[in-house]
Amino acid sequence: MEILVCVKRVPDTSENEIEVNSSGSDIERDDLVYSVNEWDNYAVEEAIQIVENAGSGSVTVVTIGDDESEEILRREMAMGANNGLLLSDDAFENSDGKGIATILKAAVDKGNYDLILTGAQAEGGAAQVGGMLAAMLDLPYASLVNKIDIGDSKLKVGREIEGGNQEMNDISMPCVLSIQTGINEPRYVGIRGIRKVASVDIPVMSASDLGIDASAVGEAGAKVKRVDYFVPDLGDGAEMLEGSTEEIIGKLIELLKANGGL
């Protein structure tokens, strides 16, 4: 089983407060801690487990970005992915979802994969790249996958749907699946693991290596463009309790009593 997992380097929201910068052109990037997108990390773990259980095959992790994105490829290789692939070109900057899917499609076409995994979504919350990639490749697709059983030429996959229910499907291979968090328990990556892959060569492919028309991706190819970031005016919001902890707790207990909480 040859598996490709598409991953992305993102600001780690559990480590950072995300704020809009003073001009609204971007979020405040100073001092941000970055990591691999949480959904993608589950996807990589799932791929590694599939290959481990099959006893054959390999996992390739691919990302689009610059040298800094190479770090997360190494992190996922330290987890157990066999190969990394960095897609890097100035022409890729400011791609919209379709642009990203176009670049990934070109990378998929260069390989021979039975299964392609993405995270269900990333920091933008669009949940779009997996479905676009599958449609471009004319491959079957299932989103929000939280269970995979491997069969001979097909998979049985569970999709997480509303109400905590699970929608079971048969899907033929090759196919594209977007992976929901909670499907497994991603393994811990230690310093030793990172050191082991520190000097492994990670190939880099540009737009021309991939045979991509630069005008179809990046800013030039994007139909969807982010204009600015802003903090919406949401009216009143919560009444904030301030003061010493003792004062806050005193007020809170009164409010709880008044509203049926105690």
């Binding site: 899917a101 479905g131 676009m132 989103s143 509303e162 969807v224 919560a238």
Partner: protein, 322 residues
């Protein structure tokens, strides 16, 4: 102005809430738009939905086929590609079905795609101005979208107030014959229902709900002690279940339980729209979070900016002394 079509999600012969929300969303794009509905399914349930929805849409396109009795996104996509005119604006709910369908549909239609739309701010020629959120609602963005070749827009459920005017007086048009080849590479098998837990949090009056801010499995104890002191039950947000620290039956949100307590204490929960979608009945919400930008503070009644790991034990002690 391209024609606007809304996909109508329905179950057991009744349209979902999103059906009337999308009328409202379409009117935000163009107040004068005559909006068409597309309903796929089979049999009497489908006919009932089409009749109900005709009051709200100027035209209802019906696609009746046995294979559409369960909404498999792959089949629905094939039908929509064949039925809708090129260059259309297509509205879908941004739920687990819309996420499955929308991105691929946009590729097959060769049109643009914008997910999780929370607002529209006008249209200038072929450029539609849209409001979205990123980072689980911590920041908002303005986005422009070139709709000259059409667009698929996934609309966040619950954001656009349902248009209840029901004055469209539309007619139902049977498009079943135009749906084309509906063969599949992905076959729906069954729905596995969520397992019931030891406590039914949908019946709880007071919930102490914990999120990522609890940081460690061992810390869940402090929330249990607070809940015990208050006579409340403990619930949680998605990351706690993903970490296998609590049962899925304790999870509040669109992918978990829908709760309707009187009082909801959101402890270290940032408040993504999926989480808030599982809280109904306008409870009194108290949010405690060390991140002042957490979206939960926008919807809570009372907010406290502090670390729950320090705050919860002190609150528990104070309540025990009452």
């Amino acid at each position: 102005m391209p024609q606007i079509f809304a996909y109508i999600a329905h179950k057991d012969g009744a349209a979902e809430d999103s059906a009337l929300e999308m009328v409202a969303a379409a009117k935000k794009i163009d107040p004068d738009a005559s909006v068409s509905a597309v309903v796929t399914g089979s049999g009497a349930d489908l006919d009932k939905v089409c009749q109900d929805i005709a009051a709200s849409y100027s035209e209802v396109l019906k696609v009746d086929n046995e294979v559409l009795s369960y909404p498999n996104a792959e089949i629905v996509r094939k039908a929509l590609v064949n039925i809708l005119p090129k260059g259309s604006i297509v509205l879908l709910p941004h739920d687990t079905f819309g996420m499955d369908l929308g991105p691929g549909l946009s590729i097959k239609n060769d049109s643009a795609f914008v997910a999780d739309v929370v607002g529209f701010e006008g249209i200038d020629g072929n450029i539609l101005k849209i409001v979205r959120q990123e980072y689980s609602g911590q920041v908002s963005t303005h986005v422009t979208c070139d709709i000259s070749a059409g667009v698929v827009l996934n609309i966040r459920p619950g954001v656009f107030a349902a248009d209840e005017s029901k004055s469209a007086g539309g007619s139902v048009v049977d498009k079943s014959g135009d749906a084309g080849d509906l063969s599949v590479t992905r076959t729906f098998l069954e729905i596995v229902e969520a397992e019931a837990g030891d406590v039914d949090i949908t019946k709880s009056d007071v919930l102490v709900s914990i999120g990522r801010g609890i940081e460690d499995e061992d810390n869940i104890e402090i929330a249990q002690e607070l809940a015990e002191a208050m006579g409340a039950d403990v619930s949680c947000s998605r990351p706690i279940v993903d970490s296998k620290w609590m049962e899925k039956s304790r999870q509040v949100g669109t992918s978990g339980q829908t709760v309707k307590p009187k009082v909801y204490l959101a402890m270290g929960i940032s408040g993504s729209f999926q989480h808030l979608g599982g809280i109904k009945g306008s409870p009194y919400i108290i949010a405690v979070n060390k991140n002042s930008k957490a979206p939960i503070f926008q919807v809570a009644d009372i907010g406290i900016i502090t670390d729950i790991l320090d705050f919860i034990p002190e609150l528990t002690d104070a309540i025990k002394e009452l």
